[in-house]
Symmetry: C3
């Protein structure tokens, strides 16, 4: 308990005022204090749950989930986070392929939000649309609230868009902080965010972009590695570069997996699609050009197959710091000889890191809960103290 109070005390010293009644869309729109606030609140919520203290701040309330793509992990993480805080999730199922237009978005956003406290959106399929869609929804519900249509402004959590995947990257960062014993120990640590071969195509860019956009904030040495042709969004590269400068860290892009792995403290080998190809795909879908999409798929699979050597093998791991870098992945991974013939990582590497990988994933529900908590409490530190003092049990075991 003393532990929890110490954490709450740290939270009380952070400037979190702008998080209240606000969205969480991109990590690089948030201040260092705000990111720190999310990590600390996530930590407090976890410790409260471990100590069987209820952290419900809603007696009733709705969280709308809008998944424009299939998802098990993020869906369960969101549901867990909402349940922990007392919100009931209501899913809005839209046709997967349907790209909604302006007026429809405005109307739907208002119609589902009369009693919505939170809206969680995942829309990562089409370059140029996911994040835009979220901002449209945000703008429309803000307007709805100002116009007296909505009694409250439902705040948004980005559960993955075409640009960033903040709940993933923040959970990953929480895992790194825990692994290295504190955020203060990350300066100079090298992380390799590397492309890896996968026999499937079209994996979103939001994970590598989210990682380089966030990890460069902490003075780390961030190395983004991929074959030529697998460039990420230029804007995100620029953000990473600026971040690295500001935090006295480093950001480099290389076309050599080994260079990135060399002396790395952390490796994050993961497949993604080339940005340009995803842009093209968005256009093809827009034109409903199914033949074009099939053709593009073939090209991308062929292109991928040129880089089967981009695999996180034991040999690659041997290049890393003391041969034992922390291996990370957002899961599910393409494991060679297990989930596919050849993939992102060899079975022995994956297997050795299974427990840390599962723990990495376990941060996500708390990170989401913290994002919601901070958008819904004007004085998070006093609400946390209230919860702690009331000592209401989560579970009468």
């Amino acid at each position: 308990m003393r532990d929890i109070k110490k954490l709450i005390n740290i939270i009380s010293k952070l400037d979190l005022t702008k998080m209240y009644n606000n969205d969480f869309l991109l990590t690089w729109e948030k201040s260092d204090d705000e990111l720190q606030g999310v990590f600390n609140v996530a930590d407090v919520l976890r410790k409260m749950r471990e100590n069987n203290i209820s952290s419900k701040i809603f007696d009733s309330g709705l969280a709308i989930s809008l998944f424009r793509d299939n998802s098990t992990r993020t869906r369960f993480s969101f549901a867990s986070a909402c349940n922990l805080l007392g919100l009931e999730v209501q899913d809005l199922d839209e046709g997967k392929s349907q790209i909604a237009h302006g007026e429809t978005v405005r109307e739907t956003a208002n119609m589902i939000s009369f009693m919505a406290d939170i809206v969680g959106i995942r829309d990562d399929m089409y370059i140029g649309t996911g994040n835009t869609y979220m901002r449209d929804v945000s703008r429309f519900v803000k307007q709805g609230n100002q116009d007296g249509v909505l009694e409250q402004r439902p705040t948004l959590v980005n559960l993955q868009c075409d640009i960033d995947h903040p709940t993933q990257s923040m959970a990953d960062m929480a895992h790194i902080i825990d692994h290295f014993g504190g955020v203060e120990n990350l300066k100079g640590k090298k992380i390799a965010m590397s492309w890896a071969y996968s026999p499937s195509y079209g994996k979103p860019l939001s994970v590598p972009q989210g990682i380089v956009g966030l990890m460069t904030r902490f003075g780390m040495d961030v190395s983004l590695a991929h074959p030529k042709g697998y460039e990420i969004m230029n804007d995100v590269e620029n953000i990473a570069r600026k971040n690295a400068t500001a935090s006295s860290g480093n950001f480099e892009v290389t076309n050599n997996m080994g260079n990135a792995f060399k002396d790395a403290d952390i490796v994050y080998p993961k497949s993604w699609a080339p940005f340009a190809a995803m842009q093209k795909r968005t256009q093809l879908y827009g034109n409903n050009d199914m033949d074009g999409i099939e053709q593009l798929e073939k090209e991308l699979l062929f292109q991928n197959a040129q880089h089967k050597d981009w695999e996180c093998t034991e040999e690659m791991m041997n290049l890393t710091k003391d041969k034992k870098a922390l291996y990370m992945h957002c899961l599910p991974a393409d494991i060679s000889g297990v989930s596919c013939e050849q993939g992102e990582v060899s079975a022995s590497v994956f297997d050795r890191y299974r427990i840390p990988l599962y723990k990495e994933a376990g941060y996500k529900p708390y990170v989401i809960a913290a994002m919601i908590f901070l958008s819904k409490t004007r004085n998070p530190e006093s609400v946390l103290m209230e919860l702690l003092d009331s000592n209401s049990k989560r579970w009468r075991g």
Copy 2:
């Protein structure tokens, strides 16, 4: 707070005894006091939520939703209402086209109701079946309760049937009452419930029927306008006529949109299918005659297309009282040049009324909550006072 207490005081003077442990299926089965009770309780619940006072009357409990047709708005309204009162929604997904028969309905109704406090049903597709189905379910669960099968009688809320759409019409009425500053100001106000052209076919009749069946209760001048061949159910016309006489209002049917709009205080232009055609469609579905249905669809679209001039244009609006009647719609509307080439309403009219339209929709969750509340509390006024006095927060913001 004084405001809320005043409202509760008004509620205490209404005779609401027959609403307890009872269904809400058709507005014309309810007394004036009962309708007033719904409006007032909806108002109290909204004010309590605005003042961050919890109105949970269930610590645990289930609300079954049974949507025999797609729905986003009504689904979310029902979920919001249930959540506000502490009920968890459990959806029963039945095949859309399946028209259940007697014994199956009886068994299913009981099997899903062991711990059900509320059952919300939407079944508006087939003339002659929706309301009948609801009455079957109601009868079977009442019987189940009497036989000792069910510990409680789950009460029903009609979320749209083939005859009425009471949660819609009551929400619409709440909007009108608010707009004109009180139910006492509605006497003599003219409302035009008018058919309007739509490029789609088979839209349910429950909205116009619900509107003329309800609005004639308040001494209003109700004008139902449609092209020849778009008659609504004869029974509902008779009810509207009787209502109008009883409330010293007026009810007329015209085949001229302009006549209805002339000097109207409120206009409600909306497409619907001819009753006779819907009867025919029910038969065709019953016979599984898919060719017949396709043929009927063609005929109906052709028939609709003869009446493209039935559009709520600026010219039509200029006919209304001071050229600024309140424009209403249950949404989504077919907006000319926006959601279709030509439709029910011109874009400039719709756009001018967007905020009131959204507000109109915003009454529905509260109206549903009030219906549930009144069917589940023997002394609604004292339960409301209890909630107010306990002053339990909905949200620790």
Copy 3:
């Protein structure tokens, strides 16, 4: 209330320690005390609900439901049980036909369980896989908890597998206990668990297996009847035989429906598929041999049709004790002339037992709630007393 306290007193004398933090997978893995505990806790929970006393033991918490087969009744029973105790259900929808493999099961089991208190699984389609799958999930989440991945160990409830259907058989038993006025009155009572003709094929064996595996525990005279070729799993027959010996009851297998019905106090006529055929089907699905499956279906329907005389008619009922044995079924039944041309039971028999049949089904939510309750409370009797004493209302009616 005195009634409830008496029941809690009985519970306090049972040895239920091994149920805490444990799964409920097969009734024959549970001690007599443990089965008794489930019946008694179910009874207490029902009486508390009837007396409007909240039995929520979770302020927040998740129950994961994993239905690998369609289900309305069990789904609603599970949802009701969870809601009663304060758990929110989160459904995991997997492809119906997908048979998950080792690593995927391990990963998914952990990924959905970060905040899961309970996992309810139904997997009854494929012989040799359902129960195995449950044990895999159980093993993996236990391991996850030990490895520090999961903060708690989510316990499992078997909502029907290929071997047993414990929530069904326990609900059936609760019904029998109630009918005969106490478990002490069951000694020597004869129950006929009989195969019956159905025009559909491939019905699971878990019901007859669950029934003979459980009913033989209470000194009853259990007669399992089926045509040759409809044998159940050999292992379960052996368990039934051992149970009968231990409880000084009797277990016999006959190929004559009349023999089983003769002087029976209870009859449970129900169709099922031959075990050997279901084994073959599992192989065919494993090989994705759709032609083979179609062929097998034809053979099974033909085989079924040889035994149309296995129907629970009035004549058959006349063979039973005083011509009025208690007729039981897990529902839905194939009723001759009602849900099919010819089926398991004649309409007049079914109709006469409709109310008891519905009541039989009504035990399931409470049996499931009791299983969850006992796996989640270290001292069930004191938690029940706490709930009773706090006298918190389920519903402010």
